[in-house]
Symmetry: C2
Subunit: 267 residues, 2 copies
C-alpha cells in the first residue's frame, strides 16, 4: 500500500515542492490542494489564516493523506501549531527545512532571505534563523511573484528587477547563503544566481522546495515501508481559478498537472 503525501499551498506555488518530492519518494500517491479562492493569505489576519489552513489540512487528511506538507510560507509562518493540533499525521512546513539546511552548510553565518512582503513582515525567517544562530537579513521582493506568474522566467525585465532588489540587499549584508523564501522563486533560481554573481556575491542558494522535499522524504522513510515500484500518481484540487491553475501549474510542476478538481471549503 503506497504512502499518501498531501501538499498544501494557498495557490500553485507549492507545486515546486511537489516537483522535488516526486523523484525523491517515487512510489507514493500524492494529493495537492491550492486554496486559490482565498489567496493571498498574506493580507489576512493570523486567526483567518489558521482557520483556512486547518480546513485545508482536514480536507486532505479526509482524502487519505498520511503526511502533510505545508508548502505555503504564510501558513508555515503563522499556523503550524493549529495545523499540527488539528490532524494526527506528521506535518512539515516550508520554513524549518530551508533554515535547517542553511544552518548545516553555513553554521553561524549571515544569510539573506528573499521573500514576499507578507513573509518578510511576519519575520518568521528571522526568528527561525535566530533560533539556529544564523543572522538573517530579510528582503521583500514583491514583483517576483507577478513576474513568474506572467511567465517572464528568463527575461531581461526579471533580471533588471532582480539586480535592483539584490543590490539593495547586498548594500546592507554580505551573506554566505541566500534562502529562497517563496515557493515561486525556484523557477527563477538561475536568474537569482547570476544576479548575485554579477554583483560579486558567491553565496550558496538554498531552495526551499528542495530543502522541504528532502525533509519530507526523510520523515516518510522513517515511518513507512519502502515504496513499491509503481510510478507516483497525483491529483490536484483547487478552490477556484482552475483555469489559471492548469495553465501555470504545469510550469511549476515541470509536467502537466492533469485535470484539476474544484472543491468548496466554504467562505
Amino acid at each position: 500500500m503506497a504512502t499518501t503525501i498531501a501538499v498544501f499551498d494557498s495557490g500553485f506555488g507549492g507545486l515546486t515542492v511537489l516537483r522535488e518530492l516526486l523523484p525523491l519518494v517515487p512510489g507514493a500517491q500524492y494529493l495537492y490542494l491550492g486554496d486559490s479562492a482565498r489567496l493571498p493569505y498574506g493580507s489576512k489576519s493570523q486567526a483567518t489564516i489558521a482557520r483556512y489552513a486547518v480546513e485545508s489540512a482536514r480536507f486532505l487528511v479526509a482524502r487519505g493523506a498520511q503526511h502533510l506538507v505545508i508548502a505555503c510560507n504564510t501558513a508555515s509562518a503563522l499556523a503550524m501549531p493549529e495545523i499540527k493540533q488539528a490532524v494526527d499525521v506528521p506535518v512539515t512546513g516550508v520554513i524549518e527545512p530551508v533554515v535547517s539546511a542553511a544552518h548545516q552548510s553555513h553554521p553561524s553565518a549571515q544569510v539573506l532571505v528573499l521573500a514576499t512582503s507578507a513573509t518578510v513582515h511576519s519575520h518568521a525567517y528571522r526568528l527561525h534563523c535566530a533560533a539556529r544562530n544564523l543572522n538573517a537579513t530579510e528582503k521583500a521582493c514583491p514583483l517576483l511573484v507577478p513576474l513568474v506568474e506572467e511567465g517572464w522566467i528568463d527575461h531581461p525585465v526579471t533580471r533588471d528587477v532582480l539586480r535592483i532588489y539584490l543590490r539593495e540587499a547586498l548594500a546592507v549584508c554580505a551573506p554566505k547563503a541566500v534562502l529562497l523564501g517563496c515557493t515561486h522563486y525556484p523557477l527563477i533560481a538561475p536568474a537569482i544566481e547570476s544576479g548575485l554573481r554579477d554583483l560579486g556575491c558567491h553565496a550558496d542558494i538554498i531552495d526551499s522546495a528542495k530543502a522541504t522535499a528532502t525533509a519530507v522524504a526523510r520523515s516518510v522513510a522513517q515511518r513507512s515501508p519502502p515504496s513499491d515500484a509503481r510510478p507516483a500518481a497525483f491529483q490536484c484540487f483547487a478552490t477556484d481559478s482552475v483555469e489559471k491553475f492548469e495553465r501555470l501549474g504545469s510550469q511549476f510542476l515541470g509536467r502537466p498537472v492533469g485535470q484539476v478538481q474544484l472543491v468548496d471549503l466554504g467562505g
Copy 2:
C-alpha cells in the same frame, strides 16, 4: 446640507477616482471603502463578487451615502445589476463613463483597453464598446498593478514593461484612443503616454478616473442643490491591511488619506 458621495473599490485603487472627484464636487462629504480583506475580486466567482459588492454598497448607504461610485472594474463588470437593486441611491460604475467618453471624442473608432487579466477575461469593456459601435482590443497588463504598488511610478523597469505590453498591443490594432481600464493606471498615465509616442502612436489617453468623476459630478448636479463653500471632507474605511492602505493610499489620492477605519463586513 452637503451631499454625501461614497466611493467603493476592492482596494485603494479607487482613490484615483476620489482624487478627481474632490475638486469637481468640492462641497460634498465623501466616504471611501476599500474591501481589502477580500481582494482580489478578479479571481472570485460572479456570485461571490456580487455578494461582496452588495454588502459594501449597503454599508456605505447605511453610513449616509446619497451617491454611490463603484470604482472597481471587476464589480462594475460583474455586479452592477445586483448593486443597483440592493440600494435606492444613484450608482455609477467605472466602465460606462470611460467608454462613453471614448465614444464622444472618437465615434466608431478602434480603441485599445489596457486592464488587468481579470477585467480583460470578463470582456466587459469589449461588450460596452460594441454597444457604442467602438471596436475594442483588450490588452491584459498584469505587471502594472504590482509595479504601481511597489511605487515604481517613474521608473525604467515600468517603462520597459510598458514598452513590451504596448508593442504587443499595437501589433494587432491602430487605436484612436487608449482607455485606462484599471484604477491604478492613472498614476502611470505619463509613462503610458510617452510609451505610446515612442512607438509612433498618437492616440488619446482616456482615464477612467477622470471620466467617472465627471459622470458622477453631472449626476450629483442634476439631483442636489449646489454645494456650499465648505471644503470637502472624507473618511476612509478598509476591511483589512489598514497599514498598506495608509501607506500607498496617499499616493493614489494625492494627499494624506488620514486615519483609515477598520470595518468588518464578514467572511
